[in-house]
Symmetry: C2
Subunit: 451 residues, 2 copies
């Protein structure tokens, strides 16, 4: 039997193991079931022949990581690391789920449940690929390591600490990232990078307590204050007006531009999916794709002030808060951008607005010329029939920490259908894609080991 | 015994009747206890010698009004109407109450509980004044009528319908309004008018569902859209930028200006109370008082979009909503201002923003020269030792409907200490002020009857 045959004949086991994982809730935002899920993953690895450990930081209140390892007898000189996470997004809103959020229910080609795609589905493809190698040959093509964390959905708060503490253990030559999307034409998107993020909360304070709105003749309204401040941050085209915001942004290389121009993107389908008529700044053609890969943003993720229930309440709120996430591209460091933001507000007369730093993450990209890219691309093309290279995901993850500490290239490839409703009710994983992805991971290991 | 003696010796009865009223919750926003409270008020009136009826509109789901009446034998040619309300604000937030919200607990000079001041305390002073006249003389100085409604705290939604339906029953020559504040120096504030209100909700729509904020490179964020629209409505000095917004605003008359300049207002105390350092547009001196009486406002009462919980969520919200209350002054009609607002948004490229009308109320003022003003002022001065005339309250009520339908002057005078925490936890009424106010109401009736 080939590895591919083993994957095909082992699908029932893969599905039932994935169901087991889904049925163990592990919501990092609520600190629910995290240690339980880490232990479950560790024992599942053991069952598959992977030596596993549950590792902690000195601060034992931080969710543990699961470390897994198989040393290759035939080729112990190369090491691949699978980075995944066992935590999931909160399951709310509950009333929109057709089945229980943690049901793991199978309907035809789909497995439903929170975490089915993000990220338990991806994790199971990595574990199973290793299991089948061991089953077939008693060996793996190269050394294999796993790092499965429990805080990805709340910003991977301690990944860098874990990387530093277990630097030797985690040393590797290449990292397969935790996610990977498959487009509407079943083509895997091989993503070579991630954007960075600066997440802040701005707060304007008004009267010491909510006041009757008739007093708006005298008392400054903090929501108005915040609206005024916000208007200085960004113009309607999306351009950020903070001084030096783009200073370290470098233009795309020729190679990046050529990859971007080849990347398929269906404007019409995207607009339909989100019910919109045009893109920000009326972007068209290649500019749409360039924006996804390399445009920094200033997004209002939340605005809260005063009375927000039904009907009327005549209140002058005592405070107004806005949450903003700025996406960053390579070169932009969150700490530096934060200082620029604070300076901007002061300079424009909004020194009274409090700026609370919530989260920061720098961007990272693996160069297209890195040999690991070709290996992954070939493996994906062979198993899925086609593959798309993306210079960078529009999203954010702790890739910069991996690159900085482990000094290894990171590449995303996986099984998640692009409309799989991750982070939303009725999240699902597609069984056909789990199958292909498991094969793809196997092939990546082989090609990576050979080169 | 004089009326004053009767008031003094009857304070125990007044307090226990007020406790009975407080202990009957009657929260219009939640439709709790309204009919029960109307019946309670009606029977309390009967007990005091006032003929009472509970009256409904054709739509019996609308909370009833309590109508009360005593015909004067000695002077049936003049009629005074007491307008009050038996409904109260919601009792939330519960955890900030020292005693139960509907306790009616007496501590020294204070009676605590939701509605103790607003408006059950005021109502009881009116009922008791009439009761003592009947007790002393078997008669009242003039005809007395009561209209006690049950929707004041949610915007007096059906007052005008009630006024029209029971126009003959409610016909009168002067109205004593439901509230009346007493300042920190125990001086009653006799208010001759109320501002109007236009309450709207503006909604901007973005993607058909919340999207991942990495897509902010392509998808317009409705919160940004709303921020842009808001910035066109008002400048930081408080000036409203909608075309013709101030068109019907007339300047103060000389008499109004003279009354305004005499009105005491403690800037320092006010700023301290609300923890603010300066007023809108840096107003000082008489301009502060002019603003309270006659400045139209555009107040953000609520802003809601996206994720507003703790920490970070990287979301691009599918909608953003802002609640705005515009205070209006005499001459400004809510419907016309609403049309101007809609035109403004369209003209500035925000035709996509939905404008939902929530509530409208025109302003009203009783001219200072009306003889009723002098009568109330004298009565208040005699009982409280001093009295302040205010051209208009900064707040809003259905006074315009009374003026339009009944064509009678309306004047506010009452017993509510200005820091009595109405609409807030630990609301209270001061027993000494209830005493003085009851005497004052008696004197008003006498003076009103004589002139």
């Amino acid at each position: 039997m080939t590895i591919e045959d083993l994957v095909d004949s082992g699908m029932d086991g893969l599905v039932s193991d994935l169901q087991t994982l889904i049925r163990q809730p592990s919501v990092s935002a609520k600190k629910v079931g995290l240690v339980e899920c880490a232990n479950l993953v560790a024992s599942m690895m053991q069952k598959s022949g992977i030596n596993s450990e549950v590792l902690y930081l000195d601060d034992r209140t931080v969710p543990p990581i699961v470390y897994g390892e198989v040393r290759s007898k035939s080729n112990p000189s190369k090491t691949i690391l699978f980075y995944n996470h066992y935590d999931v997004q909160p399951e709310e809103p509950l009333d929109l789920w057709e089945d229980e959020p943690f049901s793991g229910k199978v309907k035809e080609n789909q497995i439903f449940g929170r975490g089915s795609a993000d990220d338990k589905g991806e994790l199971i493809t990595r574990i199973k690929a290793v299991e089948y190698f061991l089953k077939k040959t008693g060996d793996v093509p190269c050394n294999v390591k796993f790092m499965v964390e429990g805080e990805e959905e709340i910003g991977s708060l301690h990944v860098e600490q874990y990387l530093r503490k277990y630097k030797e253990k985690l040393a590797c030559d290449g990292v397969i990232w935790e996610f990977g999307y498959v487009d509407a034409k079943d083509r895997p998107i091989i993503s070579l990078g991630m954007k960075g993020l600066l997440y802040v909360e701005l707060m304007a304070r008004g009267p010491s307590r909510d006041a009757h709105s008739s007093l708006a003749v005298l008392i400054e309204n903090p929501a108005w204050r915040l609206v005024s401040a916000l208007k200085t941050l960004r113009d309607p085209s999306g351009r950020i007006l903070v001084k030096d915001w783009y200073k370290e942004v470098r233009p795309f290389t020729k190679q990046e531009l050529s990859v971007i121009s080849r990347e398929p993107f269906d404007d019409k389908e995207f607009k339909q999916e989100y019910g919109i008529k045009k893109f920000v700044n009326n972007a068209r053609g290649v500019n749409v794709k360039k924006a996804l890969v390399g445009m920094p943003t200033c997004n209002i993720a939340g605005f809260d002030s005063g009375y927000t229930g039904p009907g009327a309440k005549t209140v002058l709120p005592s405070q107004a808060t806005v949450k903003i996430d700025f996406r960053l591209v390579p070169g932009m460091m969150p700490e530096r951008q934060l200082e620029r933001l604070k300076r901007h507000l002061k300079k424009h007369g909004f020194g009274d607005i409090e700026v609370k730093f919530i989260h920061g993450e720098a961007a990272a990209r693996t160069p297209i010329s890195n040999p690991f890219v070709k290996q992954v691309e070939q493996a994906a093309s062979e198993t899925f029939g086609d593959a798309i290279i993306s210079v960078s995901s529009a999203g954010t993850g702790p890739m910069y920490s991996f690159v900085k500490v482990l000094k290894a290239p990171c590449i995303s490839v996986g099984s998640t259908y692009m409309f799989a409703r991750i982070h939303s009710p009725n999240e699902f994983a597609r069984i056909d894609l789990l199958n292909k992805c498991t094969k793809c991971i196997g092939k990546i290991m082989e090609k990576f080991a050979k080169d």
